[in-house]
Amino acid sequence: MSFLREVDPAWCPGCGNFPLRMNLASTLEEMGVDKSHFVMVTGIGQAAKMPHYLDISFFNGLHGRSLPVAFAIKAVNPELTVIAESGDGDMYGEGGNHFIHGIRRNFDVTVLIHDNQIYGLTKGQGSPTTGKGQKTSSQLQGVINEPLNPLALAITMDAAFVGRTFTGDKEHFFKVVSAAINHKGFSVVDIMQPCVTFNKVNTLKFYKERLYDVSEENGNYDPTDKPNALKKALEWGEKIPMGVLYLNEKETYHELHPVLKKKIVLANERKQIDISAEMEAFR
């Protein structure tokens, strides 16, 4: 079943979102995801337009707010597969608080962040992941703030799954994103992608020269080794690690929640409600 919608996306020619869209659609198709029980939640930004270009159910909400919406959808109907997807500005800037608390909640969701290290839709301002010193349309002398390291943050908070992939490698994208969707709990995938219009530093060439998969480095990478995963997450320079950096098998929100662990679907309608017992307490 195809997840692609026949439409002409409103992205700049050469945008990393084009291969990301194709990779995501084929990943969902190859995994055999049940389209009738699939929902994508996005915020605002170039990345957040994604569901309009796929043939799926979606909630395209407010800037930075995809995670609270995704959380509630999953809480109310645990039978749905939920992906929250947005850009670096949306997920780490406006939505940073929700990112932190989403990890704490550990509800079963896959979070895909199009991390092009720049604001695209608002034309080239620095994002939380823009490198120090990089000149932008609003930081004309260069960014003076430290960039956020989302993977290190997620690992220190014991996120269930922390990975990184790249729009320029279809097979790698499938490997990491399908593993994230299959993993139970809050699964973060930071996706490196170029912004051909506004980011002249982190180009396709930049990534191709630096990115390597942790599992291929010496063949014995253990993603459950937290100190080592954190060490990898902090690596950013001549070499940039990608792949499944950290795995943490722990109980999810639904498994721990006193109501949800009974596997009930809150979305189901009720025709009758009896509160006479509760009323009696007020006599």
């Binding site: 707010r65 509630a72 109310v76 749905l80 608080n97």
Partner: protein, 556 residues
């Protein structure tokens, strides 16, 4: 009407709430009608805490400010309450404590002191001094002793070693000769319920089938959240404490989108943070139910006091134009029924519905008839949908068929302007049609509104009011020929039809704010000239205050 006001005056942390609840409930179960409120500072220990109980033969819905009996546990708190004393006020003190004396006041003090603490010690539980006082007061009102005895057994259930001395302390209290004159009330068994606005709203939400609540704690709105949390397991409700109010409102929108009746609770400052979410619900036509328990503002204001200051803010909440439904219940029973209705309206019209409470309503227990639950208000208006499903289909009444994810239809929803399928669009002709579609819902919505409460509309002076000030208005006007009232609990939208009935009258709005917010709302819909008196000192509106202020303004 015969009434009597008892004030328990002390500090937070002295167990006043427990003893006040036991006193109120014992009187209530013995057949009295009760209205309580609490005046307290925003702190957990220390600070003034006054628990007031008004006793009557039939239900009253406001506090009388003057105290008839003050049981004082704190000299400082009692000194701060002197303005509420009258000639007949009796002050009851523990003889061992630091007390208010005649030198502290410039009127004749009528003091009774009793060694509550020593008596409690004799009973075997030095901490039971409040229970001794409880027994003394209850015997004054001829309350059957088995009623408070049962309460003590419930409160300390499982702790035999505590129950026994407390029952002994109660008995010793009953035997104390308080010898204070109280009105001769004619009480008999009744069929009422004693509940506060928090409980009414919380029960209403459960009865409405609310399955998901997200909130960030904020006084005085937190009570509804904790009430649902306490009932969550039994009724299958998920209560999530969000990281902030923005998360809370977005969660609730997500929950409703996925098909569950969902509720977010807050107070004014938290509601301010939710504005973009209100607008999101409007654009995505997702049912959104919000409880805003008002407190005096701006900014942090007075967290534990009351006000009616958020009306125009709530009515105009969210950027852009869209219909919404706003209710302001007048009693806990009303809070129950309007909460159920708010869920129904939000679902039927796919719009934001806001329940405006006040601190005084949520914290006051009142004697009410059984709230009426209606199973037909559980109707969700959710459709199955099919392959060509259009979430935002343009219809005559503006209401599009709503499907939820997990069925046959793909459900697409966007905060951008969108076409009938939910896809983002910049086609300005579609934009125009979508605005008109959303706004068309108002026509049918007006037909859902019940008429406002009306009294004595033949009178030349008509008071206009809304929300929980109704008890005071009703008490003030009862039996008067010269003054009538119109009282609103569904405060938005407003049906302008009321104009005909009010034309030619002198109209004065009575509100818990400075500017006369409801007066300007009603004026804008009807063109009627409306004067205004407002209370904005953080205290609830009372019948006495209305009379005094109308006189001061030369209106009566």
């Amino acid at each position: 009407m015969k009434d009597y006001v008892i004030a328990l005056s002390g500090e937070a942390g002295q167990g006043l709430n427990t003893i006040g609840d036991m006193l109120a409930l014992s009187l209530f179960r013995n057949g009295y009608c009760i209205f309580t409120d609490k005046s307290y500072h925003s702190r957990i220990r220390g600070g003034e805490y006054v628990y007031r109980i008004r006793i009557s033969e039939s239900p009253l819905h406001s506090m009388r400010q003057e105290f008839d009996l003050v049981v004082s546990l704190s000299k400082n708190t009692t000194l701060s309450q002197l303005e509420y004393f009258h000639d007949g006020t009796t002050l009851v003190f523990d003889s061992d404590s630091d007390r208010v004396t005649q030198e502290d006041v410039d009127f004749r003090l009528n003091v009774k002191d009793f060694p509550f603490k020593s008596i409690a010690k004799e009973a075997g539980e030095p901490r039971a001094q409040n229970v001794v006082a409880l027994g003394a007061i209850l015997s004054l009102f001829k309350v059957k002793k088995e009623i408070p005895s049962r309460l003590i057994e419930e409160v300390f259930s499982g702790k035999e070693e505590v129950i026994k001395p407390n029952l002994e302390a109660l008995k010793k209290g009953y035997d104390l000769p308080l010898s204070i004159e109280v009105p001769d009330f004619d009480v008999q068994e009744h069929d009422y319920f004693l509940m506060n606005g928090t409980e009414g709203t919380g029960l209403g939400a459960i009865a409405a089938g609310c399955r998901f609540l997200a909130a960030y704690p904020m006084t005085p709105g937190t009570g509804v959240m904790t009430f649902l949390a306490a009932n969550a397991e039994k009724h299958g409700i998920v209560v999530e404490q969000a990281e902030d109010e923005i998360a809370a409102v977005n969660m609730v929108i997500g929950g409703a989108f996925a098909g569950a009746r969902s509720l977010v609770t807050t107070s004014g400052g938290g509601f301010a943070l939710m504005q973009e979410g209100v607008s999101l619900a409007a654009m995505t036509e997702t049912p959104l139910v919000i409880v805003d328990a008002q407190r005096p503002a701006p900014a942090t204001g007075l967290p534990t006091r009351t006000a009616q200051e958020d009306l125009l803010f709530v009515v105009n909440a969210g950027h852009g134009e869209f219909p919404k439904y706003v209710v302001a219940p007048r009693t806990p029973k009303d809070a129950f029924e309007l909460t159920e209705k708010a869920f129904f309206i939000a679902d039927k019209y796919q719009i934001p519905a806001i329940i405006l409470l006040t601190e005084s309503l949520v914290d006051s227990s009142a004697t009410v008839e059984a709230p009426i639950h209606k199973d037909e208000l559980l109707e969700r208006f959710i459709v199955e949908g099919d392959e060509g499903y259009r979430r935002f289909e343009i219809t005559d009444d503006g209401i599009s068929p709503r499907a939820v994810p997990g069925g046959k239809a793909l459900v697409r929803v966007d905060s951008d302007e969108h076409d009938e399928y939910g896809f983002i669009t910049e086609d300005l002709n579609i934009r125009k049609k979508m605005v008109e579609k959303r706004m068309r819902k108002i026509d049918a919505l007006l037909g859902e509104l019940a008429a406002p409460a009306k009294f004595n509309l033949d009178a030349p002076l008509i008071l206009i009011s809304w929300g929980d000030s109704w008890g005071a208005i009703d008490e003030f006007t009862v039996g008067r020929k010269d003054i009538g009232y119109v009282h609103y609990t569904e405060v938005f939208p407003i049906d302008p039809e009321i104009k005909e009935e009010l034309e030619g009258k002198r109209l004065v709005s009575v509100e818990g704010n400075f500017t006369g917010q409801f007066a300007s709302l009603l004026r804008s819909k009807t063109g009627l000239p409306i004067e205004h008196i407002g209370r904005y000192d953080g205290r609830p509106i009372s019948a006495n205050w209305i009379e005094k202020t109308l006189k001061e303004e030369g209106i009566i």
